[in-house]
Assembly symmetry: C2
Homo-oligomer: 552 residues x 2
């Protein structure tokens, strides 16, 4: 690897390449863009979420100049507490993003020692041999930024998550003018959001959602509940606007919703006339036609307010006829089933339920094909790297770039850990560094997906466990009593004699092997194998077998 | 309950009400419509699928006159082997459906004793006090039927799964003429497919898929692989047609695909010029531009041919540049993530991948809103029960019926197990019978979802297991050696002294309780509780704890 070349390394995108973390390296300097978490499915029971494996950054600690954050969503900031406990590096972000990061670091008790910096858009600063300039983009959270990074090789544009919305809720559109000025001398490289590269046309403006919310809230006779993400601050603004227009008060439920919204109100990212936002007790004392309740739970999270309401288990709120529930969100991949169940249960409770499949109550925050073309057209980069998407999204985005005249020799579909080296004239993937996911179980317990413990746990859930307890005479090696067998989670135990027979199988194996002068561990393996084979022959599954041998 | 009224009981729809089984009861006679399986998610590890709980049918065995099957998909026929082993009842179905049922019953070794009957559409027969007439509908499998059932109270129309396709692959449209004749004197009740009641407009014809497949296969330079359901026989016909047109041979891989297609060819439901369908070895010896491979795996099933190909693990087939892979299907809810991974991996292997999100290579087999209106309009029923959908789909369908003038007093959104009683003038839900799912683990192992074993297994996967092995002196009750603790699947064991400390906690609990004259089971509970509390205080999780106490 040439140390003069620019290196681009997506790290721990965890399925979505580069989304949670991107590394740029030039000479002796490294900057990191974003530090987010990703969610893991039910295939990892007991795991809360995953963060990127930052081994590469730890090895190159001395080179890291800054962590730049594009916006305040969990998949871009959620890993910061873990990353900052390993790396003492300044963090740069916009103002609202800074507020969200501060809330998080305070929870972890590391706010004080962290070096957080607020950056205004269009206000360049220098770190190492990078000149960094944030520019405003539209996304489903206010104060989202793309980043232009200039080196002596040229300018790199990282779009962050973006869409082009000419009528956003906060009135702040993607700032193409600033961007055009920044790259007036041409762009070396574009790294651009690929999440919706499969979607034809344009992503609809947030305005259509505002219109729909206003219509639905205006027509509702009874209470209205709106479920959305706690981070979708613009959406909450739209709900507030609609509520105010129709003479309703707004009440927030759910801890993360309340924290985020109060912070956004305090910082001026949300506005509401005095007295609009009230506590839930007060709200429940008002006539039903005068309130809107905003809650989390739009992803069917089992402990969320909405799901408890849907199951009739919420302490304060029961669905009553005349209630309208709006799910202003769409299911994150993997959550489709639980969201559908939540909708079904709300209907069962008697609510009128409005959701994205039947009404325009949600638009997503990412650019569709025509917007991606617009970005490619404006930046007109020499090199192109699609980021922020699963592999097929990157492939789709690469083919959009090709249709816009970017040479396919200069377009690189990367995997996490790939090291792309770009020189003045060409680029190539020259290396692969350690990357991937680190699983977080409980706040600070970090595990690798191939860790023995993680595998054990997954296996247990599939097959159950059998405990084989053996007692041998310490002198003679005689089997002192029938081998004791206990099973848990063995679906076949109901079938009767399986445990009893397994005890016989184990005893037989002991009798056969006990006088062969085997080490204890070897004897244990023999017994374990015999029991495992017996279970397999009976049930076509191999439960986890724990064998205890005692000599007394 | 009046014994003269007509009873409608959806049984074991397992989320989708009535899809897997519907019961009609009139006087002393019962007929059952369909007997299918439903799939269970990763929340039930080790479970293959679910079948309806037929306790109600077993209790009323003597009344059951017939099982009528609408079409040959698994969610309508898959439970037959289990149901027929409990109930000796004749089964009536169309010819192709009969072929698929026979394959299944033969596998279970119960074909000979089963009483299967082939019914031609528009050929009524009588069973008990029901007059039964099948009528042809379009669905994503040939020979799909709706059923008109006439009693002295009036005629009940059950649509089965249907859509209205004026250009279906087999040329056989939904037979409205026959249907209009059957209900010439009016219809008492319509039971109609609600799967796509949320979708505006019309479901597109299979023809658009045929056109897309023909274009993609025509343009491909290298090999083409098409993945679809083994039961989507019409889709395979379209692939064969396109292959023949472009001078390609077709090879089938996957056992279920090969069995179904060979059966359909033999029965004349699929046609292919002689020599078109060849073995995979022969296919792989031909030039790449001359073959189309049809495989299962469109749902990302881990052991399917397509997934093994995508992972580079198939024994015969590697992806090579120039390959085109078409996923002619859309993910079943819950499979979205695995299907997406399969697509990503095929791209990684270098294939061109075409899937329903980016091209019209799949249409679904169910009617959208305008088609549902057409059915309601034609049948113009006195009573309406939406079926075959999750609760929200039924609600959506009910509101379509209301918009078509069906009184909401005469429309019933049922849950599984609800007993709807319909008299000449009105209907009401009068009772609720036992219903729900029975889980199938391995071919013949039946469990209820709330079975202790099922709960144990799910719990194990979430929390892991701890074995506590205690040895006490039989006489004195003294603790003979340090309590032995083994853990498996405990994510926190990596954190060091947890097992060691748990042993101390258990020993302390023993010392404290051993001289209180407790029964062995009570002593065991005390020790177990102390260890459980210790783990909870350390890890905020309660693993499954298995305690063994030996007196020696």
């Amino acid at each position: 690897m040439s140390s003069d070349a620019l290196k681009i390394i997506p790290l721990g995108g965890l399925g979505e390449i580069g989304r949670n973390m991107m590394v740029l390296e030039y000479g002796n300097d490294i900057i990191v863009i974003d530090a987010g978490v990703s969610f893991v499915g039910p295939e990892f029971p007991g795991i809360d979420f995953a963060i990127p494996d930052i081994s590469y950054l730890i090895e190159n600690k001395a080179k890291i100049r800054a962590i730049l954050i594009t916006h305040g969503h969990e998949d871009h900031i959620g890993a910061l507490p873990y990353v900052l406990s390993e790396l003492d590096v300044p963090v740069y972000s916009s103002r609202l993003t800074h507020g969200l990061i501060a809330v998080k670091l305070r929870e972890f008790g590391i706010l004080k020692e962290s070096r957080l910096n607020v950056v205004e858009p269009h206000t360049p600063f220098t770190t190492g041999n990078f000149r960094v300039e944030f520019f405003r983009v539209c996304h489903s959270i206010p104060d989202a930024m793309g980043i232009a990074i200039t080196t002596s090789l040229g300018t790199i544009v990282h779009t962050g998550d973006f869409k082009i919305d000419h009528t956003p809720v906060d009135g702040k559109s993607t700032d193409f003018t600033s961007l055009a000025q920044i790259i007036a001398e041409g762009a070396l490289l574009l790294l651009s959001d690929s999440t919706y590269a499969e979607m034809e046309g344009y992503t609809e403006s947030e305005q259509v959602v505002g219109d729909a919310l206003e219509r639905i809230i205006g027509n509702a006779r009874g209470r209205v509940m709106v479920a959305t993400f706690a981070s979708l601050i613009s959406r909450v603004q739209q709900v507030i606007n609609a509520a105010v227009k129709h003479g309703r008060k707004v009440s927030l439920i759910g801890r993360s919703m309340t924290n985020n919204i109060n912070m956004a109100l305090k910082m001026g990212y949300l506005t509401a006339p005095n007295g609009t936002i009230i506590g839930i007790k007060e709200a429940l004392s008002l006539p039903q036609g005068e309130i809107v309740i905003v809650a989390t739970g739009s992803q069917g999270e089992p402990t969320s307010a909405l799901v408890r309401i849907a199951n009739g288990e919420h302490k304060d709120i029961n669905v009553v006829p005349g209630d309208t529930v709006i799910l202003s969100s769409s299911p994150i991949p993997g959550n489709e089933t639980v969201v559908a169940e939540t909708i079904d249960n709300l209907f069962r409770q008697g609510a009128e339920v409005v959701y994205s499949r039947i009404a325009l109550v949600h638009v997503h925050g990412h650019a569709s094909k025509e917007e991606l073309k617009m970005m490619l057209n404006l930046i007109n980069p020499q090199f192109f790297v699609p980021i922020h998407g699963e592999y097929r999204h990157l492939v789709a985005h690469a083919s959009i770039a090709e249709s816009m005249g970017v040479s396919d020799l200069n377009t690189f579909v990367l995997e996490d850990g790939d090291v792309l080296e770009i020189g003045p004239y060409d680029g190539s993937i020259v290396d692969r560094v350690r990357s991937g996911k680190v699983l977080v179980a409980g706040r600070r317990r970090l595990l690798k997906p191939d860790d023995k413990l993680v595998k054990e746990q997954r296996e247990l859930g599939k097959t159950g466990v059998v405990v084989v307890s053996v007692m041998l005479d310490a002198k003679s090696g005689d089997v002192l009593r029938p081998v004791n067998i206990i099973g848990s989670g063995i679906l076949d135990v109901a079938q009767g004699k399986i445990l009893e027979n397994a005890s016989k199988v184990a005893t037989k194996s002991l009798e056969k092997n006990r006088n062969k002068g085997l080490e204890l561990t070897d004897l244990k393996s023999k017994v374990t194998a015999s029991v495992s084979d017996y279970f397999y022959s009976e049930t076509k599954r191999r439960p986890t077998i724990l064998t205890l041998i005692e000599h007394i």
